[in-house]
Amino acid sequence: MINTMECAVDAQSLISISLRKIHNSRTQRGGIKLHKNLLVSYVLRNARQVYMNEKYAEIYRMQQYEEVMTVCNEIQELNPLDLVEDCEEQTVDCCGSMNESPSLCGALLPVSHQASPVQHIQPTSACSVPIPLQSEEVCKSPDPSFYRSCCAEAYPVSNCDFSPVNSMHCNKTTVLDLDTHVVTTVESGYLHQDCCASLQQCCQDAQSPAKKRKLDFGYYVSEIEEVPDFTPCKRAKFEDSSYACTEPLDTSNISNLISIFGSGFTGLVSRQADLEQALNGQFCSKQALASLGAWTRAIVAF
């Protein structure tokens, strides 16, 4: 467990500082220093680890808070007599056929936190009926790759705000497709809007669009393999997008940095590599990209 208390800067700043160092090392005299870059990569890995832990803790807290608030709001709005009905409707709407496409609603909570929500979601007010239903469906364990493919934004989430339909708060996200090695820019959460916008729409034909997207988002799947938690898809019903978008990283150099990192460590030392392994001084060779270490994949999603 990394002790972050003694550090003056937070994990995200450390990540950007480290990337800048690696970027600068390309142009310094004498060639790339393998030792220094290796040490910087360790800092990068540690910072990423802390960042991820913080992020998921935050998401989980937000999730719980939203659940509680929504239920409370609904309780206030609804006539007590309509309570059960509405809640049932809602759950059906929300999830369509629960067996077939449980994913989106189930995608609300990280897989590993399945057990705990049952307790946490219990509000203090008297709305006990719908809650178990909700928790049940929330607790369902969906097919991992399915919901991932729908909404999963490769971590970290800061670049995209999971905002409701009409909100266009999403920033641009630059991603590197690991399979085709194409750098694409996702505008204003367009892709997310499609799947998060209206849950009904999403759930009703959840199968087809999600599956279609599975191809597009296929590259995200490989990102997540080593991370037990995943980014949940936020329900459109939530009024405020409480995924506080943390200050995005300086994206001005991101595409360049991705091209550095896209080539992995081999790219960094390509100028030093033995002739037989030489990448002809070029970064971003397909071979290197395909064999990215897991920790470098996080960086390409920035």
Binding site: N3, H35, V50, T266, Q272
Partner: protein, 443 residues
Amino acid sequence: MEEESDCRKINNSFLRDHNYATEADIISTVEFNSTGELLATGDKGGRVVVFQREQESKNQPHRRGEYNVYSTFQSHEPEFDYLKSLEIEEKINKIRWLPQQNAAYFLLSTNDKTVKLWKISERDKRPEGYNLKDEDGRIRDPGTITTLRVPVLRPMDLMVEATPRRVFSNAHTYHINSISVNSDYETFMSTDDLRINLWNLEITNRSFNIVDIKPTNMEELTEVITAAEFHPHQCNTFVYSSSKGSIRLCDMRASALCDNHSKFFEEPEDPSNRSFFSEIISSISDVKFSHSGRYLMTRDYLTVKVWDLNMESKPLETYQVHDYLRSKLCSLYENDCIFDKFECVWNGSDSVIMTGSYNNFFRMFDRNTKRDVTLEASRENSKPRAILKPRKVCVGGKRRKDEISVDSLDFSKKILHTAWHPYENIIAVAATNNLYIFQDKVN
């Protein structure tokens, strides 16, 4: 220990009075020869300056053998690797003296890629009376020669010349960080980030690889070699340190490729101390055998450790060099100071160890009395022949009069390279572009 200070500035040019230092003048290595008579320094500009100790004279008994410039030569030049589009720095990374076998002196100096053997010899006679050329060197017209004479050697002003005798090149893909001469005086090894090569001093076109830690897939790289040294007496034994804080001792008799170590020295990390920078501060920057060959000393960013070769599980002694920096690691990371590679040295009897710090401070630890002292190498704070005053860094609370607070330390003034005379209490301390030589006070 009381010290007498005697300052020398390498660059005796007009820059003497200026406070700035050109980067080329920054000293990058300091080394006494095996008798202590000579002291060599290398700098970032590829030059080597050799100092020689004056013979003690009865006329001036208090000037006990000062060091004067003996020879200066350009060892390495900047090069360009056209194949990889890389510039190769001329900075001298290490100098190691060979034991003296005749009137000439030999040293090995290395930059990132090439090791060179230099011969430093004196010439105090020159031949006069050539037949085919006159005193100025102009060729005489053969028609004017009527007699033959035998040239004679006449004394001349002492001239010290340095000639490159061997060039050991094209053996390292990565940057050379160490060289070490074997006690057999026939071989030496050169170490880069991933490999160690063994050379014969006479043969330049072939070297043997004895350690190779390069992974088949560079993505899996987790550690690099940071320093290596031969055992002072056993010519088959050497150690190398890694960026992960471990030291491996290898025996060349075991196999041709010493990837498998004979001994592995590592102290388990304290999990409560874990921070973002744990890996960086545990990386070993220097490793040195004691003169006796029984102990090892390693330097990482915040500590110096003495290891007993017979105990691999933990060091014998750990000394905190500047633990007050532990809370400043973040800023030290931002300004790159956390990557500074400090060296460490033993005194002749292995009873005291010395290493550098920031603000031109250097530290000495007496292993027997467990006392330590912080001294400063600066002209402002010490006059020639004045006794050095111990310094103290104030870590918190009320700062006393002579103390310096951590926040006012100058991190651009770092002492990375120091050397200790093999027998006497004379030390050489390199502070950026200045060389300080301190001697024990003569009573």
